[in-house]
Amino acid sequence: MKRREFIKLSSLLSAGAVASPGFLLGGCAAKPLPGTGKVTTTPTICDMCFWKCAGTVYKEDDELWKITGNVDDLHCGGRLCTRGTGGPGAYLDPDRLKTPLMRKTIDGRQLFVEVSWDEALDFVAGKMKSIAEKHGPEKLLMLNHGAGSSHFRHLLRAYGSDSHAEPAFAQCRGPRDVGFNLTVGESASSPERTDMAHARCIVLIGSHIGENLHNGQVQTLTEALNSGATLITVDPRFSVPAGKSKHWLPIRPGTDLALLLSWMHVLIEEDLYDRDYVERYTFGLEQLREHVRSYTPEWVYLETGIKPGVIRETAREMAKAAPATVVHPGRHATWYGDDTQRSRAVAMLNVLLGSWNRKGGFYKPEKVKLPDYPLPEYPKPKLRTRDAYPGKWPFAPQGVTNGVIEASVGEDAFFKGWLVYGTNLPQTIPNITNTLEAAANSLELVVVVETMPSEMTGYADVILPECTYLERYDELRNSGERHPSLALRMPAFEPKYDSKPGWWIAKQLGHRLGLHKYFPWEDFSEKLDWQLRQVGSSLEEMQKIGVKNFPRKTPMYFHEGEPVRFRTPSRKIELYSQQLADKGFDPMPVYTPPEPVPRGFYRLNYGRMPAHTFGKTTNNPLLYQLAPENQIWVNPLVASEWQLENGDYVRLGSPNGVVSNRVRVRVTERIGPDSVFMAHGFGHRSKRLRLTAGVGADDSSLMHNIKVDPIMGGTGMRANFVTFVKEGEAGAAS
């Protein structure tokens, strides 16, 4: 028998009768008029995605009424996005994890059994002690996503482990940040430091602002459109921003780097680049000139399908608006395995336009200098995360999820235990199910801290139910923005059911591990109050205002002719990268043509739906009602070939035989005949997610052809192909 069976959480011992998910909002009628009762407000930081907008929670007669944006907040400009507005659904979701659960074997069957917090915490602390004694604390790995991670990172570092990885790096923006770091010595940040509000030309390459609702990005892009900026969108699909663009370049998938190099070719050949900026700040122009010489628009046309005239015209438009031109760095950048190089090309293009740290291009974000709460130093770990995969991915500045997961498989695996916080690995890491099962079978401890019964919880020994963001304190938000600012998340409600705040769980574990000195607070708010008082505020003040803006202390942009020392080995912007060359990589990005599509297959193009943050929100009753399922977009020519009609349900098959859940067909011209498109985050298997279980298809599990970026370990996911497996008939979800 397997040490850990994947438990779909449908076999809870004490499951009993389950209430209907209906009538969450109490079936409230429009009478009496909203807002006529006793209305109270508390500040929050939205946790519906990673953007962390500050908002205000409204309660009417002690019932949750609504959540709106904080007008003082630069992240959101006073307006939350669809998901943020749908935040009440996270709190009200009847499928939430309600009580600690432990895997137990009863009559030969593995089941999750409701246990007390004491039992669950004692078990976890006991296992953590045993791992530290037997193998060393570094062998306990944290996999995480989200704002509440900090409590558990703190716990693990106090315990002696700095081992951690998050999908936000190797499955998302890692290549972009590494590419920019290698080039300009800084990352594109989060929120992205694009100065789109002042831009006169914006270039999106495979970025779907508007389909992703990165709030500040959506708002500043709209500002730019309203003030007449030129939008150029490169996307094989007629995305939402493509529909708002002056130039839509329906590029052949996988050839973006050729286009970027050709644009650089035009800028250099036609002498359109920012000569002063490039001479003052960069290293390697001559090498670059030589390198891009062969990427003529005429040659690149054959690769990309973008006409030479269009390549030249768009390059000239970018140059005309420069430096107020943003070639957007994008966010999810793990596409084809050469993603660091492509991101470098994006950075280099911005540099040629002189837009890095110039008005209308990129700004320099500034944070508040917020002192840390005085705590003892962490013990120094003897092993780092990267020791789990020695010699691999030399430019990864943080843990690589796919690397650490592989290093958790087998009796002699590097890692012996996992603490998983807020990340649903089965839907996050492509093609991971088998590896995940193998890892779960050899690890000595898998503990999952979650609010929802995600698929990941099915692999756990212990599930610790965290309360939602509306019921807890977390760290102050202090992310770099146009102006420094702090924002507070505080509980609007007592934790529902038997869920607990992350800080409390971490502290309880800390105490059981004898790490009291790292958790000196009775309540986490004491730590926040201390920090706030160091910068002239207080918890009391922040509880009233939610967001406090501070004046900038440094300029937002480079001033004319300012001498700058960049954080690169040469102290210059590196168009030519010696450090890449030293490690055996191309010093300048080289285009490789994409793999051809096998006969009868289509490129699997995946993306976002504005209503959802991946699979994290699909069970949120408010957002489920808005967008309950994903569709597979099919070009009419393909549809007629396969005799597919709008509303049909099909399954998708990968070349290696994986077949997806059924998904609804949308026949649309918005996708070309060589690809299909679907939103990520559907096809949940966990039956305890009663709304979304079994609805739609999951793209991650269809991925079979993962292109790992040798520079930083990112998993390129755009080289995957699918075909149709027809369903007998259309009808209700299975």
């Binding site: 009628a29 309203n226 007629f238 009602q625």
Partner: protein, 180 residues
């Protein structure tokens, strides 16, 4: 009589549905029901295409056939404006107003059975606030105000931009305008 209008810029609307969720929470609209919704229109053949997103709701028509056909006076105009409301205590649930609306913008509240609809958030308008949908929109593509005030943003937009309304042939004179 004050004539309130909503002006929605299809050039910047991204169809994100924030307006739909904001309405649901603000007005406590029961599960499964909606007072507003998003329509996406795509024309052309790949790769020569155009799209339009429209946030739709009750048009608060100047000639509201739902009001004229209501047998009990439950459907009425609010406070000498064009804002069409339903008085639940006068509504018999005969559904004449639902049949009378060319935009299918009315709904029956479950489990009670009276007819409900978008109110232009008159409870907010009364306080000088925009409707919840307008004030939540992250692209700020939605505008609300009085057409009687030539300085209002809605009046100015209609003077300077091209616009359309839905199915003008109905003669209902709708007051939700779409900038094109």
């Amino acid at each position: 009589m004050t004539r309130y209008a909503m002006v929605i810029d299809t050039k910047t609307c991204i169809g994100c549905g924030d307006c739909v969720v904001a309405c649901k929470t603000e007005n406590k609209v029961p599960d499964g029901l909606n007072r507003d919704w998003i329509v996406e229109l795509t024309r052309g053949t790949y790769p020569r295409l155009e799209t339009e997103f429209r946030s739709e709701r009750c048009n608060h028509c100047s000639n509201p056939t739902c009001v004229t056909l209501c047998p009990t006076g439950a459907s009425h105009l609010w406070n000498q404006t064009n804002i069409v409301l339903v008085d639940a205590d006068k509504c018999t649930g005969c559904k004449a107003c639902i049949a009378a609306c060319p935009y299918d913008a009315r709904l029956v509240m479950h489990p009670d059975g009276y007819v409900d609809k978008c109110t232009f958030c008159h409870h907010r308008v009364e306080q000088g606030l925009d409707p919840a949908c307008v004030s939540s929109c992250p692209t700020r593509c939605m505008h609300f105000g009085s057409l009687d005030d030539p300085g209002s943003s809605v009046s100015e937009l209609l003077q300077t931009r091209k616009y359309k309304v839905l199915n003008p042939e109905t003669g209902n004179e709708p007051n939700v305008y779409y900038l094109t």
